[in-house]
Symmetry: C2
Amino acid sequence: MKIITVSREFGSGGRELGKRLADAFGFSYYDKEIITEIAKKTELDENYVSSVVENGVSAFPVHIGQTFAYIPYTYQPSVDVLVAQQKIITEIGKKGNCVIIGRSANSILDKFSPFNIFVYASEKSKLARCRQNARESEILSDKELIRKMRGIDRNRLRTSALISERKWGDKASYDLMINTSDVEIKSIIQPLKEYIEKYFENFPEK
Amino acid sequence: MKIITVSREFGSGGRELGKRLADAFGFSYYDKEIITEIAKKTELDENYVSSVVENGVSAFPVHIGQTFAYIPYTYQPSVDVLVAQQKIITEIGKKGNCVIIGRSANSILDKFSPFNIFVYASEKSKLARCRQNARESEILSDKELIRKMRGIDRNRLRTSALISERKWGDKASYDLMINTSDVEIKSIIQPLKEYIEKYFENFPEK
């Protein structure tokens, strides 16, 4: 049973790397699919789920089913979301042969000995990648985009701290940390795949 | 011109990884050779040079040539050593096609766009590796060995801060960070070599 998790800085191309790696291995790929599943399970709105999963505990108004509802301060649907996340990611992990993007999967699936990747890059490189990919970035200045990038990564750090002992972005949490600043992601997939295969050979029982 | 630098935590197997990588590429390998060269250039004792390069500024008594000499407080041979180190590593870098272990080579050779690796591992794994390799470790308790390991890494961080803007152990300073905890180093050399070759293809002008 082989599991690869990809954590990443916003704009580092981690998602592309994960998708290409899944294709190269012939593995299932899980990214936003996880959010959809959590929303189904908890009957909460996808946007809200996404916000909890990406930003940690949140207090903003929530759609439940089709209804707008202001959540009283004492109610913590975010906990439900994080529990559902844990459950769904564990189910995915049990099936194996998959690549999972973000969502503290490295920590949640620890007992399955996944191969854990962290993808990062220089701010300059991340900025360039954002400009290439996103429509939204067109209306943001460099300064605004950098602030947004940093904010998203800060939230990832914070959320992972809620549910995980493995610190987001800390090398001890990963098997390999890849700097994509000067790298064409497509070009490194094949050697990366071979590298990971060697890792899995060390755990033949799984 | 291809340069690979390998920084490493003590006990992580970084030296083995670097040596095997040099062999796989057919590159020159520089490790303690650098210390010998600095000692020749500065006419300082090799043990002293080694201590400065590994531990930063030092105030202990120095052999100069064959003579013991207590160095006055104001005299700073360590600066000479660090300048000589910079010079020698630059000379090595200019020749190219080499693997250099430690000694802030990633920072000193920045303008040559080396491929910079950081090798690390869990404390448990480093402890096991130390026990396998070193005779000295046999007489140290686990606690003492861990203290020694941490001390050496602390010194590496401190020394690199003296001569480099690139922080030792910080992911921004490296192209790839490799966790050797669950890895047989020999087995990953071939895919690692291919990965690095892809990196060098991005800089064909060098």
